[in-house]
Amino acid sequence: MTQILLQTVLSGVLIGLVYALVAVGLTLIFGVMDIVNFAHGEFLMLGMYASFWGWALWKLDPLFTLPFTALGLFAVGALLYRLVIRRIIDAPMLSQVFTTFGLMILFRGLAQYLWSPDFRSVEHTVVDGKVAFGGLSFGLPQVTAAAGAVVTTGAVWWFLRFTRLGAALEATAADREAAALMGIDGQKMFALAWGIGAACAGVAGALLSSTYPIFPDVGASFILVAFVLVALGGFGSVTGAFWAGILVGVVEVVGGFLWDPAYKMVLVLSLYLLVVWLRPQGLLGKA
């Protein structure tokens, strides 16, 4: 029994780490400019399709195309900021919600139109099979995805904490006008936040592409969890989103195992309600 429980908990951690990466991108965008990006799941979807087409057209493994997927999604995010989001930065919250919600519908519609609503999958990837130790066994693709997610989340954390641009981004998040006085161009920082945010979701999509079905609405399955993580971890907190990701992954998988997989979201959302009720600023958020 303990063996099975341990297996389940670790499986939860593995998926939770990928959830965390999706949420890191979302929380970064929210933290820097207070905009809720409903189209964030679509960045993940685009990352998945980028991996799929690389594999389907040129037989390139998603892990090989991953750096290009990340760069491509960075460009998509930054461009989207320049073309659309920039215009609504000082608009009322409802306009911002409708804009990113509209983008979500647009991206899904475009994906359906261009690539059909069929479920696609990437097969025969480089990383395949299982890894076993101490009686526990995990799919190698899942372990790889989790490892990739940890490395990417760690890279974003390091970037924010130890680089010049990261400090500028954090300063803009704290006070845009005061940051401008330090010579920081807020517009550049916002575009950077969107680029990194989209790249995080894109990398998560690439990492999931070998184990998860790829279809135009796939973002929907992740965006709700990502919102929960952002609120749970504390709005704008990258480390908060990381720990919340692990927590939610474990609750989801263990809960599904002990109770019924159909109710796993009930548990996740109950946990969310509990935290919001007892600690509205989130686990690591500042009051």
Binding site: R164, D175, A180, L181, M182, G183
Partner: protein
């Protein structure tokens, strides 16, 4: 020699309200200029135009001979103008050192260099022992000092200080006065908006007096203190000094 800052006929209107009208003055290298005036006289509006937050409706602002009116704040900061806010706006989620580091990164792109520069600025303003503390936990006086430190870390030629002495105890005012003097001694010119007269009068080389958006006096502190127009603006006509 061109002065460091030349403001010429600066005018700023908000719809029908004229906040600044035809304001002209200059500030020389290493000079301390006090900018005073009753509430609503337009002092902060002048600062906002100088720092790039407002594009002036008319007039020009030349810094080291270059027109900077209408440039965004980050461009003005890059040219060597720094400011502090009347109500402190430090980066609350960061430590004291990180706050100053953000400023230092403007001139020093390598993080270790910028950290060294930030520490030096903290030593200068006496906040060094608070370096690792979260900025939000400082006292009001320390937060004001942190804002000045952060501005100094951008290595400005001109520092705009908006009420750094307001709300401080008498002892803290003395510290702040001493700090402004030491900043000037480093060759950084200061324009100081201040309500605390005993703070600014002894250290200012020149006083600029605004009333209802217009500059009504410009001269050495002693002359300003006896200027009938200034006394009228502050105390009302009936308090005009006898014989004035």
């Amino acid at each position: 020699m061109t002065p460091l800052l030349e403001v010429e006929r600066l005018t700023k209107r908000f719809g029908g309200l004229t906040a600044n009208e035809d304001v002209s003055f200059t500030v020389g290298e290493g000079e301390i200029a006090g900018l005073i005036g009753p509430n609503g006289a337009g002092k902060t509006t002048v600062f906002n135009s100088l720092a790039g937050f407002f594009a002036p409706s008319a007039g020009s602002i030349r810094f080291r001979g270059e027109e900077i009116a209408g440039l965004p704040p980050e461009a003005v900061a890059a040219r060597g103008v720094a400011r502090t806010f009347q109500i402190v706006r430090i980066f609350k989620g960061m430590t004291v050192l990180e706050n100053v580091l953000v400023g230092a990164l403007l001139r020093h792109r390598a993080v270790p260099d910028a950290v060294a520069r930030a520490r030096e600025a903290l030593r200068f303003t006496g906040l060094e022992r608070r370096a690792a503390d979260p900025a939000g936990r400082l006292t009001v006086a320390e937060q004001k000092r942190l804002e000045v430190t952060r501005a100094l870390a951008t290595e400005p030629r001109l520092l705009l200080l908006d009420e750094v002495m307001a709300g401080l105890t008498a002892a803290e005012v003395q510290d702040a006065v001493e700090m402004v003097r030491r900043i000037r001694d480093r060759g950084i010119a200061c324009v100081v908006v201040e309500h605390v007269m005993e703070g600014i009068m002894p250290i200012a080389d020149r006083m600029l007096v605004l009333e209802r958006g217009r500059l009504i006096a410009d001269g050495p502190p002693r002359a300003i203190a006896n200027d009938p127009a200034v006394i009228a603006a502050y105390l009302g006509e009936e308090y005009r000094a006898p014989g004035a």
